[in-house]
Amino acid sequence: MIDTDKIRSDFKLLNGKNVPVYFDSACMSLKPNCVVEAMNEYYYEFPACTNRSPHKMGQKATKKVEEARKSIAKFINAGSEKEIIFIRNTSEGINLLVNSFNFKKDDIVLITDKEHNSNLVPWLRLKEKTGIILKIIPSHEDGTFNLENFKELVKGAKFVSVVHTSNLDGVTNPVEDIIKIAHQNGALVFLDVAQSIAHQKIDVKKLDIDFLAFSGHKMFGPTGTGVFYGKHKLLEELDPFLVGGDTVLSSTYDSYEMLPSPEKFEAGLQDYAGIIGLGEAVKYLSKIDFRDIEEHEYKINKYITEGLQKFPQIKIIGPADPALRSGIINFYIENTDMHKFAIMLDELSNIAIRSGRHCVHSWFHSKNIYNSARVSIYIYNTEEEAEVFIKSLTKILGIL
């Protein structure tokens, strides 16, 4: 069971005056003090380059960055830390894959109909440039994954790139089945775990994932940090699209010798403070049982869902059952701009939620829905906050 008081004491923002009700963790999680302190420690005590500077500060920076890599490898149960590549965010990870993998004309790539722009636009670009065939896997009416559709579409596919938990409706796709079926059909699988990494256990070995990517900022980590994972053998086959400093062992005026993974993918000086902060975030998250996180989120999600269901004009995106929506409650009112709701909640009760199309414009266009308001829950949220939210929403709906 989550001890929210203890958790909240770890976040400076949640202590003191004018504490916000922060319900926007699907966009950005808050940062525990230890993450900020770890980053500050780098800047204050050893702000040096890694892997090249022989002095003590350089050695310490290298050690801390590699420790972070090891922590992350352990966190997702990767075969080796060499499979962990530091990137800026999930979008960069997908771009790395799209631009490094040897895609050819008429290769079939599958994605779902609820992909974030970061897992849609790079593929659309690749389609324009290379001539791949991009196929969309339609979901069930309630937003859950349609495995039957997938079984048909995956035949002949070269690659499957799907979101694990959707930031749109919180639905978690049956990735174990997806990966199994994809592999049976000779397709590789990329998993966008940006939304799930902080809410459920990801075991890359158990799931037999080929590639995945996630961002640090949704899992207590700093902004501008992320991880791209690939099976070692597959990473060796990728041809990095970004090269330069740190990616080569040596060079002459007419040749160069690339380093192996992960170095060959990490061109230029990295965000060391961010990586160290991300390592600290992973350590912090590792101390919490994911089953407790899921239970906690379900409890609050259920309370809010029931509160929203009292208003017939409110429509929740995704399945009605909160157990299927992780920590996300995304809702809208027909012909209403939900930005207004988000602003009013913020002004009225200091409640931070997200409004808009949540970078899933394609889905909103296909459903002809203007936008929505999304509440996203994490471990520092409380039932009292959920109550404040419902009360404030009731008040607002009373005047609209």
Partner: protein, 316 residues
């Protein structure tokens, strides 16, 4: 419509605040989209509406409900009010510049730029002088049918004529006098001076003396008159100082004796009274009253007001 209002309001506020400047930019984007017949989908309108609704909601749910329901109508009302008040403000600024009062020429209502109303203050006329006049109605103050030929005059052949009606004992006349002299000099205007005993008989002796100087010694009158307005009024109004003052203007004993004789003569008294009667025909209600090309300015205005009148910088 809310976008346009926001653009104007935040645009003005943005001059002073960077945060408002960002809102003004959003509003501009929204207005641009609307004028190019595209929907304003920046969320700006909803942002502004949401903030306003919550401010009202915190005080009254009923009012917030009404505001939400009639938001567009309220927007129009506020827009019209804003345009009206903007025009009013510009009119006020214009009036203040050309008339010295936000409310118009000689109008005495509150003016933010002249909160004490100093530009309209006058010395009300004494009992005898107000008889038969309609007070404090500026439009009735006129030179029509008023014969000014008996008053000291500087004719320079100009198309502009300035008439100054003031009182030696009145502070506001004394305040305006140097500006009128400056105006006459700078604009090379014809100039007529008329003394009006606004405070009654206290200035009679001095007025009579001035009348006699102007009648018999025209060349010395203007300097003499300026001296009376610029020197401590208690000194110049004291009858026993008149001889000393006259001496300052190189009048010899014989001339001083003649001036005094003239000043105390019944003919002078009649003539001065006749002048006052003539001035009453102007319907003036206080001093100073200045006519610039027949337009009346009551009270001591800033110099720019007089200059604007001569420059014809008056549109309404």
């Amino acid at each position: 419509m809310p976008c346009l209002i926001s653009l104007i309001v935040f645009g003005i506020m943005g001059i002073f605040s960077a945060s408002q400047r960002a809102l003004a930019k959003e509003a501009l984007d929204c207005v641009f989209k609307r004028v190019t017949f595209r929907p304003c989908n920046t969320g700006f309108q909803e942002k502004v509406k949401g903030k306003l609704l919550v401010k009202v909601l915190k005080r009254s749910a009923f009012l917030a409900k009404v505001l939400n329901k009639y938001y567009e109508i309220f927007s129009w009302i506020f827009f019209i009010l804003m345009v009206g008040s903007t025009i009013w403000v510009f009119r006020g600024v214009y009036n203040f510049y050309v008339y010295g009062s936000c409310n118009g020429l000689n109008a005495t209502g509150f003016c933010a730029f002249d909160p004490s109303g100093a530009n309209n203050k006058v010395t009300p006329l004494g009992d005898g002088a107000t008889c038969g006049t309609v007070q404090k109605v500026e439009k009735n103050v006129t030179l029509k049918n008023v014969d000014l030929s008996s008053f000291p005059t500087q004719q320079v052949g100009s198309k502009d004529t300035v008439v100054f009606i003031g009182c030696y004992d009145c502070d506001y006349s004394r305040k305006a006098y140097p500006d009128i002299l400056k105006l006459v000099k700078n604009k090379n205007a014809n100039y007529i001076f008329a003394h009006y005993p606004a405070k009654g008989s206290i200035t009679d002796d001095l007025a009579n003396t001035a009348y006699c100087v102007s009648k018999n010694y025209k060349d010395k009158f203007w300097d003499f008159n300026s001296y009376l307005f610029s020197t401590d009024k208690n000194y110049v109004l004291d009858k026993k100082n008149i001889d000393t003052i006259l001496t300052k203007f190189n009048f010899d004993a014989n001339q001083i004796s003649k001036i005094n004789e003239c000043a105390s003569s019944p003919e002078t008294k009649v003539a001065v009274e006749a002048q006052v009667k003539e001035l009453n025909k102007t319907n003036m209600y206080g001093t100073p009253t200045i006519f610039i090309n027949n337009k009346a300015f009551v009270g001591p205005k800033p110099y720019r007001v007089y200059r604007s009148a001569i420059n014809k910088f008056i549109f309404f």
